[in-house]
Amino acid sequence: MSTPIYLDYQATTPVDPAVLEAMLPYFGERFGNSASRGHAFGWAADEAVGVARKQIAELIGASPKEIIFTSGSTEAINLAMKGAAAMYGSKGRHIVTTMVEHKAVLDTAKHLEQDGFEVTFVEPDSSGRVSAQAIAAALREDTILVAVMWANNEVGTLNPIREIGALCHERGVLFFTDATQAVGKVPVDVLADGVDLLCLSAHKLYGPKGSGCLYVRRRNPRVRLVAQIDGGGHERGMRSGTLNVPGIVGLGKACELCATQLNGESARLLELRERFEGQLLGTLDFTHLNGHPVERIPGCSNISFQYVEGESLIMGIKDIAVSSGSACTSASLEPSHVLRAMGVSDELAQCSIRFGFGRFTTTAEVDSAAAQVKEAVTRLRELSPLYEMALEGVDLSKVQWQADH
Protein backbone atom coordinates (compact mmCIF):
# COMPACT_ATOMS: atom_id res chain seq x y z
CA MET A 1 0.00 0.00 0.00
CA SER A 2 1.28 3.45 -0.84
CA THR A 3 1.44 6.23 1.73
CA PRO A 4 -2.03 7.63 2.46
CA ILE A 5 -2.99 10.97 0.96
CA TYR A 6 -2.55 13.52 3.73
CA LEU A 7 -5.65 15.71 4.02
CA ASP A 8 -5.37 16.75 7.64
CA TYR A 9 -3.51 20.07 7.37
CA GLN A 10 -5.52 21.62 10.22
CA ALA A 11 -4.14 18.97 12.59
CA THR A 12 -0.55 19.58 11.59
CA THR A 13 1.56 20.28 8.52
CA PRO A 14 4.74 18.64 7.29
CA VAL A 15 7.89 20.66 7.86
CA ASP A 16 8.87 22.45 4.67
CA PRO A 17 12.28 21.19 3.46
CA ALA A 18 13.61 24.77 3.46
CA VAL A 19 12.56 25.09 7.11
CA LEU A 20 14.29 21.86 8.05
CA GLU A 21 17.43 23.00 6.30
CA ALA A 22 17.40 26.30 8.20
CA MET A 23 17.00 24.50 11.52
CA LEU A 24 19.65 21.81 11.18
CA PRO A 25 22.77 23.88 12.06
CA TYR A 26 21.14 24.82 15.37
CA PHE A 27 21.02 21.16 16.38
CA GLY A 28 24.70 20.89 15.43
CA GLU A 29 27.58 23.32 15.50
CA ARG A 30 25.38 26.31 16.42
CA PHE A 31 24.07 24.75 19.60
CA GLY A 32 24.59 27.78 21.82
CA ASN A 33 22.20 29.18 24.40
CA SER A 34 20.84 32.49 23.15
CA ALA A 35 21.06 33.84 26.71
CA SER A 36 24.85 33.28 26.87
CA ARG A 37 26.10 36.83 26.40
CA GLY A 38 29.80 36.15 26.87
CA HIS A 39 30.83 34.03 23.91
CA ALA A 40 30.40 33.36 20.21
CA PHE A 41 28.16 30.31 20.68
CA GLY A 42 25.61 32.40 22.50
CA TRP A 43 25.91 35.29 20.06
CA ALA A 44 25.24 33.02 17.08
CA ALA A 45 22.11 31.62 18.73
CA ASP A 46 20.94 35.05 19.81
CA GLU A 47 21.42 36.43 16.33
CA ALA A 48 19.38 33.56 14.84
CA VAL A 49 16.59 34.17 17.33
CA GLY A 50 16.65 37.86 16.39
CA VAL A 51 16.26 37.02 12.71
CA ALA A 52 13.33 34.71 13.51
CA ARG A 53 11.65 37.36 15.63
CA LYS A 54 11.83 39.73 12.67
CA GLN A 55 10.51 37.15 10.21
CA ILE A 56 7.52 36.39 12.44
CA ALA A 57 6.84 40.06 13.19
CA GLU A 58 6.86 40.89 9.47
CA LEU A 59 4.26 38.23 8.67
CA ILE A 60 1.78 39.65 11.20
CA GLY A 61 2.65 43.36 11.02
CA ALA A 62 4.18 43.50 14.50
CA SER A 63 7.49 44.80 15.86
CA PRO A 64 10.08 42.10 16.72
CA LYS A 65 10.07 43.15 20.37
CA GLU A 66 6.41 42.19 20.60
CA ILE A 67 7.06 38.48 19.99
CA ILE A 68 7.20 36.21 23.05
CA PHE A 69 8.33 32.70 22.23
CA THR A 70 6.42 29.75 23.69
CA SER A 71 6.17 26.01 23.16
CA GLY A 72 3.16 26.50 20.91
CA SER A 73 -0.34 27.94 20.85
CA THR A 74 -1.69 26.15 23.90
CA GLU A 75 0.98 27.70 26.10
CA ALA A 76 0.56 31.09 24.42
CA ILE A 77 -3.19 30.93 25.05
CA ASN A 78 -2.64 30.13 28.71
CA LEU A 79 -0.17 32.99 29.03
CA ALA A 80 -2.42 35.48 27.23
CA MET A 81 -5.60 34.68 29.12
CA LYS A 82 -4.30 33.82 32.58
CA GLY A 83 -1.60 36.48 32.32
CA ALA A 84 -4.08 39.20 31.37
CA ALA A 85 -6.60 38.04 33.97
CA ALA A 86 -3.95 38.20 36.70
CA MET A 87 -2.68 41.61 35.55
CA TYR A 88 -6.06 43.29 35.02
CA GLY A 89 -8.25 41.29 37.42
CA SER A 90 -8.47 44.24 39.79
CA LYS A 91 -10.03 46.32 36.97
CA GLY A 92 -12.75 43.83 36.17
CA ARG A 93 -13.71 40.19 36.47
CA HIS A 94 -15.50 39.54 33.18
CA ILE A 95 -14.17 37.82 30.06
CA VAL A 96 -15.91 37.33 26.71
CA THR A 97 -15.13 34.44 24.40
CA THR A 98 -17.05 32.19 22.01
CA MET A 99 -18.51 28.69 22.10
CA VAL A 100 -16.47 27.56 19.10
CA GLU A 101 -12.97 28.22 20.42
CA HIS A 102 -10.34 25.52 20.59
CA LYS A 103 -10.34 23.51 23.82
CA ALA A 104 -7.17 25.33 24.86
CA VAL A 105 -9.16 28.58 25.09
CA LEU A 106 -12.34 27.00 26.48
CA ASP A 107 -10.51 25.07 29.18
CA THR A 108 -8.42 28.10 30.13
CA ALA A 109 -11.62 30.15 30.35
CA LYS A 110 -13.17 27.49 32.59
CA HIS A 111 -10.05 27.57 34.76
CA LEU A 112 -10.48 31.32 35.13
CA GLU A 113 -14.11 30.78 36.12
CA GLN A 114 -12.84 28.64 38.98
CA ASP A 115 -10.61 31.56 39.93
CA GLY A 116 -13.64 33.81 40.28
CA PHE A 117 -13.88 35.34 36.82
CA GLU A 118 -17.16 35.40 34.93
CA VAL A 119 -16.99 34.23 31.34
CA THR A 120 -19.57 34.78 28.61
CA PHE A 121 -19.43 32.22 25.81
CA VAL A 122 -20.94 33.87 22.74
CA GLU A 123 -22.92 31.64 20.38
CA PRO A 124 -21.92 31.71 16.68
CA ASP A 125 -24.30 31.82 13.74
CA SER A 126 -25.00 28.65 11.76
CA SER A 127 -21.78 29.12 9.76
CA GLY A 128 -19.69 29.24 12.94
CA ARG A 129 -19.10 32.99 12.64
CA VAL A 130 -19.36 35.40 15.55
CA SER A 131 -20.26 38.95 14.62
CA ALA A 132 -18.89 42.11 16.22
CA GLN A 133 -22.48 42.92 17.20
CA ALA A 134 -22.75 39.65 19.11
CA ILE A 135 -19.50 40.45 20.94
CA ALA A 136 -20.69 44.01 21.62
CA ALA A 137 -23.87 42.65 23.18
CA ALA A 138 -21.82 40.52 25.57
CA LEU A 139 -19.51 43.34 26.75
CA ARG A 140 -20.01 44.75 30.24
CA GLU A 141 -18.48 47.58 32.26
CA ASP A 142 -16.19 45.09 33.97
CA THR A 143 -15.09 43.18 30.83
CA ILE A 144 -11.29 43.07 30.71
CA LEU A 145 -10.64 40.64 27.86
CA VAL A 146 -12.24 39.43 24.64
CA ALA A 147 -10.91 36.17 23.14
CA VAL A 148 -12.13 35.30 19.65
CA MET A 149 -10.39 32.87 17.31
CA TRP A 150 -9.38 34.14 13.89
CA ALA A 151 -10.22 30.94 12.02
CA ASN A 152 -11.98 27.90 13.39
CA ASN A 153 -9.97 24.69 13.44
CA GLU A 154 -12.87 22.37 12.65
CA VAL A 155 -14.82 24.21 9.97
CA GLY A 156 -12.36 26.91 8.89
CA THR A 157 -14.80 29.80 9.31
CA LEU A 158 -13.12 33.21 9.57
CA ASN A 159 -14.34 35.72 12.14
CA PRO A 160 -14.61 39.47 11.42
CA ILE A 161 -11.45 40.18 13.38
CA ARG A 162 -10.95 43.76 12.23
CA GLU A 163 -14.49 44.72 13.30
CA ILE A 164 -14.11 43.00 16.66
CA GLY A 165 -10.69 44.63 17.14
CA ALA A 166 -12.13 48.07 16.43
CA LEU A 167 -14.98 47.43 18.84
CA CYS A 168 -12.63 46.32 21.62
CA HIS A 169 -10.37 49.33 21.18
CA GLU A 170 -13.33 51.68 21.18
CA ARG A 171 -14.51 50.10 24.44
CA GLY A 172 -11.05 49.88 26.00
CA VAL A 173 -11.08 46.10 26.30
CA LEU A 174 -8.07 43.91 25.48
CA PHE A 175 -8.51 41.75 22.39
CA PHE A 176 -6.83 38.36 22.15
CA THR A 177 -7.17 36.20 19.04
CA ASP A 178 -6.13 32.59 18.65
CA ALA A 179 -4.78 32.84 15.10
CA THR A 180 -3.29 29.35 15.00
CA GLN A 181 -5.28 28.35 11.91
CA ALA A 182 -5.13 31.75 10.22
CA VAL A 183 -1.54 32.98 10.22
CA GLY A 184 0.12 32.12 6.94
CA LYS A 185 -3.28 31.30 5.40
CA VAL A 186 -4.90 34.74 5.32
CA PRO A 187 -3.38 38.24 5.64
CA VAL A 188 -2.84 39.24 9.27
CA ASP A 189 -1.91 42.77 10.35
CA VAL A 190 -2.12 43.22 14.09
CA LEU A 191 -2.10 47.02 13.85
CA ALA A 192 -4.80 47.41 11.21
CA ASP A 193 -6.80 44.56 12.72
CA GLY A 194 -6.73 46.04 16.23
CA VAL A 195 -5.33 42.94 17.88
CA ASP A 196 -3.59 43.22 21.28
CA LEU A 197 -2.62 39.60 21.81
CA LEU A 198 -2.28 36.90 19.16
CA CYS A 199 -0.97 33.36 19.26
CA LEU A 200 0.42 31.20 16.50
CA SER A 201 2.06 27.81 16.22
CA ALA A 202 4.89 26.73 13.93
CA HIS A 203 3.57 23.25 13.13
CA LYS A 204 0.41 24.63 11.53
CA LEU A 205 2.43 26.61 9.00
CA TYR A 206 5.06 24.10 7.84
CA GLY A 207 7.35 24.59 10.81
CA PRO A 208 8.29 22.22 13.63
CA LYS A 209 6.14 21.07 16.56
CA GLY A 210 6.88 22.52 19.99
CA SER A 211 7.45 26.06 18.78
CA GLY A 212 5.07 29.01 18.76
CA CYS A 213 4.68 32.51 20.07
CA LEU A 214 2.45 35.12 21.56
CA TYR A 215 2.30 38.60 20.10
CA VAL A 216 1.97 41.11 22.94
CA ARG A 217 1.25 44.70 21.87
CA ARG A 218 3.67 47.31 23.22
CA ARG A 219 1.84 50.55 22.47
CA ASN A 220 -1.73 51.83 22.11
CA PRO A 221 -2.23 50.09 24.46
CA ARG A 222 0.86 48.65 26.09
CA VAL A 223 -0.26 45.20 27.21
CA ARG A 224 1.19 43.73 30.38
CA LEU A 225 0.90 40.14 31.46
CA VAL A 226 1.71 38.24 34.63
CA ALA A 227 4.16 35.49 33.70
CA GLN A 228 2.83 31.97 34.10
CA ILE A 229 6.27 30.35 34.10
CA ASP A 230 8.84 31.84 36.46
CA GLY A 231 12.56 31.55 36.03
CA GLY A 232 15.37 33.54 34.50
CA GLY A 233 13.19 36.35 33.18
CA HIS A 234 13.55 35.57 29.49
CA GLU A 235 11.24 37.12 26.90
CA ARG A 236 10.80 40.46 28.68
CA GLY A 237 10.00 38.58 31.87
CA MET A 238 6.84 37.09 30.39
CA ARG A 239 8.10 33.59 29.67
CA SER A 240 11.16 32.19 31.37
CA GLY A 241 13.07 29.21 30.08
CA THR A 242 15.95 28.71 27.68
CA LEU A 243 14.77 29.42 24.18
CA ASN A 244 14.17 26.53 21.80
CA VAL A 245 16.61 27.95 19.27
CA PRO A 246 16.18 25.38 16.45
CA GLY A 247 12.40 25.49 16.86
CA ILE A 248 12.42 29.27 16.79
CA VAL A 249 14.66 29.35 13.71
CA GLY A 250 12.19 26.95 12.06
CA LEU A 251 9.21 29.09 13.05
CA GLY A 252 10.94 32.17 11.62
CA LYS A 253 11.80 30.50 8.35
CA ALA A 254 8.29 29.07 8.07
CA CYS A 255 6.82 32.55 8.54
CA GLU A 256 9.16 33.97 5.91
CA LEU A 257 8.03 31.33 3.42
CA CYS A 258 4.38 32.01 4.21
CA ALA A 259 4.88 35.74 3.70
CA THR A 260 6.26 35.22 0.19
CA GLN A 261 3.89 32.42 -0.81
CA LEU A 262 0.64 33.42 0.88
CA ASN A 263 -1.18 34.95 -2.08
CA GLY A 264 -0.30 32.30 -4.63
CA GLU A 265 -0.83 29.48 -2.19
CA SER A 266 -4.21 30.64 -1.01
CA ALA A 267 -5.45 31.00 -4.60
CA ARG A 268 -4.23 27.51 -5.42
CA LEU A 269 -5.80 25.99 -2.32
CA LEU A 270 -9.07 27.71 -2.98
CA GLU A 271 -9.10 26.16 -6.43
CA LEU A 272 -8.36 22.71 -4.99
CA ARG A 273 -11.05 23.10 -2.36
CA GLU A 274 -13.66 24.11 -4.91
CA ARG A 275 -12.66 21.24 -7.13
CA PHE A 276 -13.01 18.81 -4.22
CA GLU A 277 -16.30 20.19 -2.94
CA GLY A 278 -17.73 20.30 -6.45
CA GLN A 279 -17.05 16.61 -6.93
CA LEU A 280 -18.79 15.67 -3.66
CA LEU A 281 -21.52 18.21 -2.97
CA GLY A 282 -22.41 18.28 -6.65
CA THR A 283 -22.96 14.54 -7.05
CA LEU A 284 -23.89 12.95 -3.70
CA ASP A 285 -27.33 13.53 -2.20
CA PHE A 286 -27.85 14.40 1.49
CA THR A 287 -24.39 15.99 1.70
CA HIS A 288 -23.84 19.30 3.50
CA LEU A 289 -20.98 21.75 3.90
CA ASN A 290 -20.32 22.88 7.47
CA GLY A 291 -18.85 26.34 7.90
CA HIS A 292 -19.07 29.60 6.02
CA PRO A 293 -19.36 29.22 2.24
CA VAL A 294 -17.05 32.17 1.57
CA GLU A 295 -15.49 33.49 4.78
CA ARG A 296 -13.35 30.42 5.32
CA ILE A 297 -9.64 29.58 5.23
CA PRO A 298 -8.88 28.23 1.78
CA GLY A 299 -7.61 24.78 2.85
CA CYS A 300 -10.56 23.50 4.89
CA SER A 301 -13.69 21.56 3.94
CA ASN A 302 -15.89 20.13 6.66
CA ILE A 303 -18.61 18.00 5.13
CA SER A 304 -21.48 15.98 6.61
CA PHE A 305 -22.42 12.87 4.69
CA GLN A 306 -25.84 12.27 6.13
CA TYR A 307 -26.76 8.67 7.09
CA VAL A 308 -23.11 7.57 7.09
CA GLU A 309 -21.36 7.48 10.46
CA GLY A 310 -18.05 9.38 10.40
CA GLU A 311 -15.81 6.78 11.97
CA SER A 312 -16.98 4.08 9.57
CA LEU A 313 -16.37 6.45 6.68
CA ILE A 314 -12.84 7.18 7.85
CA MET A 315 -12.32 3.42 8.02
CA GLY A 316 -13.60 3.15 4.46
CA ILE A 317 -11.19 5.74 3.11
CA LYS A 318 -8.12 4.29 4.75
CA ASP A 319 -5.87 5.66 2.01
CA ILE A 320 -6.81 9.21 2.97
CA ALA A 321 -5.67 10.71 6.27
CA VAL A 322 -8.50 12.88 7.62
CA SER A 323 -10.18 13.71 10.93
CA SER A 324 -13.73 13.48 12.12
CA GLY A 325 -14.16 16.75 13.95
CA SER A 326 -10.94 18.04 15.44
CA ALA A 327 -8.06 15.72 16.22
CA CYS A 328 -8.11 16.90 19.80
CA THR A 329 -11.62 15.65 20.45
CA SER A 330 -12.05 12.79 17.99
CA ALA A 331 -10.76 10.32 20.60
CA SER A 332 -13.68 11.15 22.88
CA LEU A 333 -16.49 9.87 20.59
CA GLU A 334 -18.43 12.99 21.57
CA PRO A 335 -19.99 15.05 18.81
CA SER A 336 -18.02 18.19 18.05
CA HIS A 337 -18.75 21.17 20.34
CA VAL A 338 -18.23 23.44 17.34
CA LEU A 339 -20.86 21.82 15.13
CA ARG A 340 -23.20 21.64 18.13
CA ALA A 341 -22.78 25.38 18.77
CA MET A 342 -23.51 26.04 15.10
CA GLY A 343 -26.83 24.26 15.52
CA VAL A 344 -25.85 21.15 13.55
CA SER A 345 -27.80 18.19 14.95
CA ASP A 346 -25.87 15.48 16.78
CA GLU A 347 -27.01 13.08 14.11
CA LEU A 348 -25.43 15.15 11.34
CA ALA A 349 -22.36 15.91 13.47
CA GLN A 350 -21.70 12.16 13.69
CA CYS A 351 -21.46 12.13 9.90
CA SER A 352 -18.94 14.94 9.49
CA ILE A 353 -15.40 14.75 8.17
CA ARG A 354 -12.82 17.52 8.00
CA PHE A 355 -10.67 17.56 4.87
CA GLY A 356 -7.63 19.82 5.03
CA PHE A 357 -5.55 20.83 2.02
CA GLY A 358 -2.13 22.42 2.09
CA ARG A 359 1.12 23.31 0.42
CA PHE A 360 1.94 19.81 -0.76
CA THR A 361 -1.55 18.70 -1.83
CA THR A 362 -1.82 17.99 -5.56
CA THR A 363 -4.77 18.07 -7.92
CA ALA A 364 -4.37 14.33 -8.51
CA GLU A 365 -4.61 13.70 -4.75
CA VAL A 366 -7.75 15.79 -4.49
CA ASP A 367 -9.39 13.91 -7.37
CA SER A 368 -8.39 10.54 -5.97
CA ALA A 369 -9.65 11.47 -2.50
CA ALA A 370 -12.98 12.69 -3.85
CA ALA A 371 -13.44 9.46 -5.82
CA GLN A 372 -12.61 7.31 -2.79
CA VAL A 373 -14.96 9.27 -0.55
CA LYS A 374 -17.76 8.97 -3.08
CA GLU A 375 -17.29 5.23 -3.38
CA ALA A 376 -17.16 4.69 0.40
CA VAL A 377 -20.21 6.87 1.06
CA THR A 378 -22.18 5.03 -1.61
CA ARG A 379 -21.16 1.65 -0.22
CA LEU A 380 -21.90 2.58 3.39
CA ARG A 381 -25.27 4.03 2.46
CA GLU A 382 -26.23 0.67 1.02
CA LEU A 383 -25.58 -0.59 4.54
CA SER A 384 -27.37 2.28 6.24
CA PRO A 385 -30.89 1.72 7.59
CA LEU A 386 -31.23 5.49 7.89
CA TYR A 387 -30.51 6.11 4.21
CA GLU A 388 -33.08 3.45 3.33
CA MET A 389 -35.66 5.08 5.57
CA ALA A 390 -34.86 8.53 4.18
CA LEU A 391 -35.39 7.29 0.63
CA GLU A 392 -38.70 5.76 1.74
CA GLY A 393 -39.68 9.20 2.97
CA VAL A 394 -39.61 8.39 6.70
CA ASP A 395 -39.16 11.49 8.85
CA LEU A 396 -36.26 10.32 11.04
CA SER A 397 -36.84 13.09 13.57
CA LYS A 398 -40.26 11.57 14.35
CA VAL A 399 -39.02 8.02 14.92
CA GLN A 400 -39.04 6.70 18.48
CA TRP A 401 -35.48 5.43 18.79
CA GLN A 402 -34.61 2.66 21.22
CA ALA A 403 -31.41 3.88 22.81
CA ASP A 404 -31.43 3.35 26.54
CA HIS A 405 -27.84 2.36 27.19
Partner: protein, 132 residues
Protein backbone atom coordinates in the same frame (compact mmCIF):
# COMPACT_ATOMS: atom_id res chain seq x y z
CA UNK B 1 -7.60 3.01 16.48
CA UNK B 2 -6.54 -0.44 15.37
CA UNK B 3 -9.32 -2.80 14.37
CA UNK B 4 -9.00 -6.57 14.61
CA UNK B 5 -8.76 -8.52 11.37
CA UNK B 6 -12.21 -9.98 12.01
CA UNK B 7 -13.76 -6.53 12.34
CA UNK B 8 -12.01 -5.45 9.15
CA UNK B 9 -13.24 -8.57 7.35
CA UNK B 10 -16.88 -7.98 8.33
CA UNK B 11 -16.55 -4.28 7.53
CA UNK B 12 -15.08 -4.95 4.09
CA UNK B 13 -17.28 -7.96 3.31
CA UNK B 14 -20.40 -7.60 5.41
CA UNK B 15 -22.55 -10.74 5.44
CA UNK B 16 -26.31 -10.68 4.90
CA UNK B 17 -26.75 -7.03 4.05
CA UNK B 18 -30.24 -6.25 2.91
CA UNK B 19 -33.88 -5.95 3.71
CA UNK B 20 -36.64 -8.53 4.15
CA UNK B 21 -40.28 -7.70 3.52
CA UNK B 22 -41.45 -6.49 6.91
CA UNK B 23 -45.06 -6.98 5.79
CA UNK B 24 -44.64 -10.76 5.87
CA UNK B 25 -45.99 -12.42 9.02
CA UNK B 26 -42.94 -14.67 9.35
CA UNK B 27 -40.49 -11.74 9.26
CA UNK B 28 -39.43 -10.02 12.46
CA UNK B 29 -37.75 -6.61 12.41
CA UNK B 30 -35.66 -5.05 15.16
CA UNK B 31 -34.35 -1.49 14.99
CA UNK B 32 -32.18 -0.39 17.88
CA UNK B 33 -29.93 2.57 18.66
CA UNK B 34 -30.37 6.23 17.72
CA UNK B 35 -28.85 8.42 15.01
CA UNK B 36 -27.66 11.08 17.49
CA UNK B 37 -25.70 8.40 19.36
CA UNK B 38 -24.03 7.37 16.12
CA UNK B 39 -25.42 3.82 15.99
CA UNK B 40 -28.60 2.42 14.47
CA UNK B 41 -28.96 -1.28 13.69
CA UNK B 42 -31.79 -2.86 11.76
CA UNK B 43 -31.84 -6.64 12.00
CA UNK B 44 -34.48 -8.83 10.38
CA UNK B 45 -35.23 -12.52 10.64
CA UNK B 46 -37.32 -14.82 8.50
CA UNK B 47 -38.70 -17.73 10.48
CA UNK B 48 -40.05 -21.08 9.38
CA UNK B 49 -41.52 -23.09 12.20
CA UNK B 50 -39.18 -22.31 15.03
CA UNK B 51 -36.08 -21.86 12.89
CA UNK B 52 -34.50 -18.68 11.54
CA UNK B 53 -34.03 -19.46 7.86
CA UNK B 54 -32.75 -16.05 6.82
CA UNK B 55 -31.37 -12.93 8.50
CA UNK B 56 -30.53 -9.53 7.07
CA UNK B 57 -29.11 -6.35 8.54
CA UNK B 58 -28.34 -2.74 7.82
CA UNK B 59 -26.27 -0.66 10.22
CA UNK B 60 -25.44 3.01 10.59
CA UNK B 61 -22.44 3.10 12.88
CA UNK B 62 -18.74 2.59 13.27
CA UNK B 63 -16.83 -0.38 11.86
CA UNK B 64 -17.32 -2.35 15.08
CA UNK B 65 -21.07 -1.80 14.97
CA UNK B 66 -21.21 -2.97 11.35
CA UNK B 67 -19.09 -6.01 12.20
CA UNK B 68 -21.16 -6.86 15.31
CA UNK B 69 -24.42 -6.87 13.39
CA UNK B 70 -22.92 -8.70 10.41
CA UNK B 71 -21.63 -11.39 12.77
CA UNK B 72 -24.98 -11.55 14.57
CA UNK B 73 -26.83 -12.35 11.35
CA UNK B 74 -24.25 -14.99 10.50
CA UNK B 75 -24.64 -16.64 13.88
CA UNK B 76 -28.43 -16.69 14.10
CA UNK B 77 -29.07 -17.96 10.59
CA UNK B 78 -30.14 -21.60 10.91
CA UNK B 79 -30.63 -21.35 14.66
CA UNK B 80 -33.93 -21.85 16.48
CA UNK B 81 -35.50 -18.84 18.18
CA UNK B 82 -34.42 -20.20 21.53
CA UNK B 83 -30.83 -20.64 20.40
CA UNK B 84 -30.75 -17.14 18.90
CA UNK B 85 -32.03 -15.65 22.14
CA UNK B 86 -29.09 -17.27 23.90
CA UNK B 87 -26.50 -15.30 21.86
CA UNK B 88 -24.66 -13.05 24.30
CA UNK B 89 -22.91 -9.78 23.56
CA UNK B 90 -19.82 -11.06 25.36
CA UNK B 91 -19.46 -13.77 22.72
CA UNK B 92 -19.48 -11.07 20.04
CA UNK B 93 -16.88 -9.06 21.97
CA UNK B 94 -14.68 -12.13 22.18
CA UNK B 95 -15.08 -13.20 18.55
CA UNK B 96 -14.34 -9.70 17.18
CA UNK B 97 -11.77 -8.75 19.86
CA UNK B 98 -13.62 -5.49 20.52
CA UNK B 99 -11.88 -2.96 22.78
CA UNK B 100 -13.79 -1.71 25.88
CA UNK B 101 -14.87 1.51 24.12
CA UNK B 102 -16.69 -0.61 21.50
CA UNK B 103 -18.53 -3.01 23.82
CA UNK B 104 -21.75 -1.03 23.34
CA UNK B 105 -21.71 -2.18 19.67
CA UNK B 106 -22.01 -5.79 20.79
CA UNK B 107 -24.76 -4.90 23.28
CA UNK B 108 -26.64 -3.23 20.46
CA UNK B 109 -26.29 -6.33 18.27
CA UNK B 110 -27.68 -8.54 21.04
CA UNK B 111 -30.54 -6.09 21.51
CA UNK B 112 -31.20 -6.13 17.77
CA UNK B 113 -31.56 -9.93 17.77
CA UNK B 114 -33.93 -9.85 20.75
CA UNK B 115 -35.90 -6.99 19.27
CA UNK B 116 -36.36 -8.77 15.92
CA UNK B 117 -37.48 -11.94 17.70
CA UNK B 118 -39.89 -9.98 19.89
CA UNK B 119 -41.37 -8.36 16.79
CA UNK B 120 -41.76 -11.75 15.13
CA UNK B 121 -43.41 -13.21 18.24
CA UNK B 122 -45.74 -10.26 18.57
CA UNK B 123 -46.80 -10.73 14.96
CA UNK B 124 -47.39 -14.41 15.48
CA UNK B 125 -49.34 -13.56 18.57
CA UNK B 126 -47.50 -15.85 20.91
CA UNK B 127 -46.06 -15.20 24.33
CA UNK B 128 -42.97 -12.99 24.22
CA UNK B 129 -40.07 -14.51 26.07
CA UNK B 130 -36.69 -12.96 26.68
CA UNK B 131 -37.41 -9.51 25.33
CA UNK B 132 -34.63 -7.01 25.90
Amino acid sequence: MAYSNKVLDHYNNPRNVGTLDKGQTNVGTGIVGAPECGDVMKLQIEVEGDRIVDAKFKTFGCGSAIASSSLATEWIKGKTIGEALAVKNTEIVEELALPPVKIHCSVLAEDAIKSAIADFKAKRGTQIGGQA
